[in-house]
């Protein structure tokens, strides 16, 4: 029983009898007991002292939707209760599950059962603390544990000092338990620290998110740094300590990916004095994402109290402790629509306000927003899209994409929308509600007439403006699949939240804009057949045999029927985004945009040939026409991966920027017909890069006309490579560049006809068509004959630009989330543009020249094709939800672009006219 007294043990039941003695004892008595224990240890073997700890943990759901462990009947806390035991002890954990999902209990490095506990049930886990050290325990739930089911188990040697520290004079001083003034546990999860403090009497206090732990100068403070999920390095300013198990003195320590721990002891302020000493993760992207706090060392005489961080119980909508700063948490996910999913998203959807999105949160000033990339295989940024005018800490952004999370405290009332720069339709919105107004939720700050600023440099936009309302509507449609246009149901319903919102124009309720039962019909298929087949990345379609979303949908252009769905459940195919084919059209190359994978698919059978790691968030793939080598834009990183023709290994990555310069993060690239140049839209640096296919940076041309945030996203090129077209997503513009020098020739404003305040359309660009515009343009290929650019605009337009004049000719209507466009051959001559949409499930087929007279003004929609599978569709998995949705990359087979068409095998050439075989008349 003595051993129990010596342990600062936080177990219940067994220790109830002892707890009073343990926690109530003053220090001299503790020391006396310690001496007796040490004496006993000398006389007997440590085996005799090994204790059995019976601990009851309950997994609970917190007010903000995060999960946490509670010890016995205590409050559930993040990190979970810290368990202190001695080497050789046995720990019996009874785990109750009060959450709605299966949870487990796992301690990497120590053996135990991997069984899970169902909701409402319990299970006992037995762990033998064989070896001294600090261990993380967690819920073992494939990422869900990052929501808060993690804690520390500290196993100290049965006898002797528990640690040592470096004194100001360089001496090494051993540390016994009784020397320690206080201990801090800091979990590094996502890009947030979750802390707790353990006083010398064993009392544990939650410090929550990004706290400022405190101590008094010369206090002996033991830190336990732990991590679950992506890796980190921990750095504490002006202090140094031993690397565990070595005599190396360090001040920064790697916590490796997966789960890792590092414990150390310092004498607070030794050799450096009092101060607010920052601690932080030293990964630049994590620093930029807010991963820091301060170790406040008070001068002698101070209270060393520190400052508690943001609590999941705190000052958020429906929080239970409104007097404490609160935090809401978004899980970053690969799941369609729920890309930023509030941890309490299911509960929000269940509220009686018709909120259909799981990506909206409400907090009060001074509370924080936490993001954790717990459900994604890709890399991301957490970046501001818009915020209330004058808001602090805005824009929130990072200089590169990464794995982790984000943390930002918001003080100014109003609407904040976050996105990922790599995947710019991932949206999360937070309303910071002003407690001083009572008519509704504040979309802006009353001090600034409720206006918002945009990342594109647009300032003081009234929240009642047409553009602001369009952006809001886009958010509520993109993040709620029930609001998508499902042609298989025959009707369209859009429900906006039934909530009063305070805008620049007074109180509004978006539910007045609801669409109820609008009839939907797919429409007719094109009268004239195309040539070959069209592959569409229905990136959001879910199938039963895998967790991750996305399929490829194959349409036969003779019958306009969906002939095949390729889901690839065996590799958990994740968000297939864009495709290309090899020269003989036998292999489809497929990027997985929310992952680091790229797959090769047998075009005729739909079978997987190979799944290859190519770099994070591969977006587009294009072959080099004269070599058939494969180039893949690595959207989450800083280069273009190359796979030589006929092989399945990446041999190199062509850098898209000079050494040490900010990552370009290329998205939808193109290659010149002669195979000499790769042209990339660089989303992170807002420029167009021109690179030699054998290396070298030829040009980097900014596209924003000196305004920030243009976000160039896709490239089209003239068949003779004379001009480059680049769509700027957030500037609603098309940059035209000289194909050889990269010089900017002109910028076509795609919303010149649109008044963002009133929503009125006038003929601003004087092309005699005031209704021609494109909001949020994405793919913008040039027709193989070089006559037109077709721009799929996510606002629901298809814009046609005449390459002879570089002016808009007209725009056609498209479904919400219009995204991909590519050309294929029309039977008997000419081309179809195939256009895809994310939030609708049909393919739009555009005929630029229906009368074969070259008059682009006659361009029209030739027909539509449902992308929902039928009884005649061959499948490798069963479609389970979101049928045919998420249309993004689109590829026509045969590839009829100049440079590629000439290399087609004869049997494919035979399906084309002479003009199609020689699109620029060579």
């Amino acid at each position: 029983m003595f051993s129990k007294c010596e342990n600062l043990l936080m177990d219940d039941k067994n220790s109830k009898m002892n707890s009073k003695e343990t926690y109530g004892l003053n220090r001299p008595i503790m020391q006396l007991i310690k001496c007796m224990v040490v004496a006993a240890a000398l006389l007997t073997s440590s085996v005799v002292l090994a204790a059995v700890h019976n601990i009851t943990l309950t997994a609970k759901t917190l007010p903000n939707g995060q999960l946490a462990y509670a010890l016995g009947g205590n409050e559930a806390v993040i990190p979970g209760p810290t368990l202190f035991v001695k080497e050789g002890d046995t720990v019996n954990v009874t785990l109750n599950n009060d959450t709605s999902i299966r949870v487990g209990f796992k301690i990497p490095g120590l053996q135990q059962s991997s069984a899970k506990v169902k909701p409402g049930e319990n299970k006992k886990y037995t762990i033998k603390a064989k070896k001294a050290g600090t261990y993380a325990y967690h819920g073992n739930m494939d990422g869900k544990e990052l929501l808060g089911l993690f804690g520390a188990l500290v196993v100290d040697k049965a006898n002797g000092p528990v640690d040592r520290y470096v004194e100001a004079n360089g001496n090494t001083v051993p540390v016994t338990q009784s020397d320690i003034t206080k201990q801090f546990v800091l979990f590094m999860v996502g890009s947030t620290f979750w802390g707790s403090e353990i006083a010398s009497d064993g009392t544990q206090k939650p410090l929550w998110a990004n706290p400022h732990p405190g101590a008094v100068e010369n206090d002996i403070v033991r830190f336990h740094i732990l991590s679950v999920g992506p890796g980190h390095t921990f750095h504490l300013h002006a202090h140094r300590w031993f690397k565990t198990g070595t005599n190396e003195v360090i001040d920064t320590k790697l916590l490796a990916e997966g789960s890792d721990t590092h414990s150390f002891t310092v004498k607070a302020g030794t050799g450096v004095g009092a101060g607010n000493w920052q601690y932080h993760c030293h990964l630049i992207a994590h620093m930029e994402a807010g991963m820091h706090g301060s170790f406040i060392v008070d001068p002698v005489g101070g209270d060393g109290a520190g400052i508690v961080g943001a609590s999941p119980y705190g000052n958020i909508l429906l929080g239970t402790k409104p007097n404490e700063p609160g935090v809401v948490t978004f899980e970053v996910s690969d799941e369609p629509a729920s890309w930023f999913r509030s941890a309490r998203g299911d509960a929000i959807v269940g509220l009686p306000f018709d909120i259909k999105t799981k990506s909206l949160e409400v907090i009060y000033p001074g509370s924080s927003v936490n993001f954790v990339m717990s459900d994604t295989n890709g890399v991301h940024t957490i970046s501001s899209l818009l915020w209330p005018t004058g808001a602090q800490h805005m824009p929130f952004d990072q200089s590169s994409a990464y794995r982790g999370g984000g943390f930002v405290t918001l003080h100014t009332p109003g609407l904040y929308v976050f996105t990922c720069k790599v995947h710019p339709y991932m949206f999360g919105a937070v309303i910071v509600d002003d407690p001083g107004t009572d008519q509704g939720f504040d979309l802006g700050n009353s001090q600034n007439n409720y206006t918002i600023d945009l990342v594109t440099g647009l300032k003081n936009l009234p929240t009642s403006s047409d553009l602001a309302v369009r952006l809001l509507k886009t958010f509520f449609i993109a993040t709620a699949p029930v609001n998508w246009q499902d042609y298989s149901t025959g009707q369209w319903n859009v429900k906006f939240p039934n909530l009063p919102l305070i805008t620049s124009g007074g109180v509004v309720n978006l539910s007045t804009l609801n669409i109820n039962g609008q009839a939907l019909s797919v429409g007719l298929t094109p009268k004239k057949p195309g040539v070959g087949e069209v592959w569409i990345n229905t990136q959001f379609e879910k199938t039963a045999g895998k967790d991750k979303p996305g399929t490829s949908t194959v349409v036969n252009t003779s019958t306009w029927q969906v002939t095949r769905k390729v889901a690839l459940p065996q590799i958990n195919n994740n968000n297939p985004h864009n495709m290309w084919s090899n020269r003989d059209q036998s292999v489809i190359y497929q990027t997985q945009w929310f992952d680091n994978k790229f797959s090769m698919i047998n075009r005729e059978t739909g079978e997987l040939i190979k799944n290859i790691t190519v770099g994070y968030s591969p977006s587009h793939v294009v072959t080099i026409p004269n070599t058939d080598d494969i180039t893949i834009a690595i959207n989450g990183e800083n280069g273009i991966s190359m796979i030589p023709a006929g092989t399945t290994n990446v041999t190199k990555m062509l850098p898209t920027q000079d050494h040490g310069h900010i990552s370009a993060n290329p998205h939808g690239h193109w290659i010149s017909a002669d195979g000499s140049k790769i042209v990339t839209p660089n989303i992170n640096t807002n420029d167009i890069g021109i690179y030699g296919t054998d290396g070298g940076i030829h040009a980097r041309t900014p596209t924003g006309n000196n305004a920030p945030g243009a976000h160039p996203i896709a490239i089209g090129m003239m068949p003779d490579s004379s001009k480059i077209y680049a769509a700027n997503l957030l500037h609603h513009s098309l940059s035209v560049l000289d194909g050889s020098t990269g010089a900017l020739l002109t910028t076509i404003d795609l919303i010149a006809d649109y008044n963002p305040i009133t929503g009125a359309f006038v003929d601003g660009d004087q092309n005699n068509d005031p209704e021609a515009y494109g909001i949020l343009p994405i793919q913008s290929p040039v027709s193989p004959d070089g006559k037109a650019v077709v721009i799929a605009s996510t606002g629901g337009q298809i814009v046609i630009v005449d390459t002879a004049t570089d002016k808009i000719v007209k725009s056609l209507l498209c479904d919400p989330g219009c995204h991909g466009a590519n050309f294929g051959a029309k039977e008997g001559g000419g081309y179809y543009a195939y256009v895809t949409t994310k939030f609708g499930n049909r393919l739009t087929v555009v005929d630029l020249d229906p009368d074969n007279d070259g008059d682009l003004r006659k361009a029209k929609i030739a027909g539509y094709v449902s992308l929902v599978d039928t009884a005649n569709t061959t499948k490798d998995d069963t479609v389970s939800s979101l049928p045919g949705f998420g249309g993004q990359g689109v590829l026509a087979v045969p590839n009829v672009y100049n440079g590629w068409v000439q290399n087609l095998p004869k049997h494919w050439k035979d399906t084309l006219t002479d003009a199609q075989q020689n699109p620029i008349g060579q």
Binding site: H232, R240, G271, A274, I284
Partner: protein, 332 residues
Amino acid sequence: MSFQMNQPCGAMELSENSNATQSSPHHVLLKQFLVVFLVLALAFIDKSLAAEHVIQLTAKETRADGFGNELLAYKMVSHTVNGQDITSRYSSEATIPGPTIELTEGDTVEISIFNEIFNNDVQVPGISKQVSIHVHGVHYNILSDGTLKVINKVDDEGAGAGLEPGAVYSVYTYTWNVAPGTVGTWAYHDHNFETHNGAEHRGLFGAIIVNPIGAAHYAKEYVLYLGDDAFWGMEINGATKKQSKHGPNPTLTAKEDTHVRFHLIALGTDLHTFKLNGYQWFDPGTTNRINEVAIGPLEKHVFSIKAEHSAHYEDKNLSNKLLGMRGKFNVQ
């Protein structure tokens, strides 16, 4: 040298700095710390070996990519040890990596930062124009943390226009106590440029090497920084102390059978696994022989080897490997 022409009033700069410190209530605190440091030095150090370093660094734009993008770099302006000028061992240019400063346990350092980055003295709300030196490993008080006031609660501790109204310094001076127990190789880097995170990832980094008294000498010292797309490195000739070969993925050279030392420091966002093919070394602070090491941003890893054969040093991180993050170690 354009630097001196631009700001000829060295005396004025110094007085500006002392104004800055005088205006701060922590000036007294600083003095107290200096006294404490002196007492410590007297008590624990063989005083005859302790050196006083006076160092001036500046920061400027460098390595323009030809398309309007530049990196930033530190440049050594002057370094005296007990009054003796050793500036000639450093590059006369602003370099990435910045100068490697060799110190001995027990030394004291007074290091000043200047700022030659365009428009650095014009305050812009919400954006810091300052450049600072935040050092790892050694002792310093809160005024020498090299951070912004939003972090340290005292001052914007750098050269240039800070975030706080009126916090515009043409030079900022830090005091480091290279106290016993600080032996090792440590990074220094900016913490103040544009945001409170600084511009370490844009080139503003360097290292100090704190040797123990009576340390072994090496024929060559290589300081290699593992960045997000390249190694940035330099080498120091052990005999002449001359620093050279600054830049990405440098080719390092050694004479056969000489003893050389590698100083690894990681930077940026990526985690790395370093390998020097065909070589083994002691994991620092242990007797374990290893042939590769996992290293994350701002960790350090120092090892020495006998140069026996030429080899490549490389990062095993997949993307970095594909980007060609490797270099030659040529043994002749």
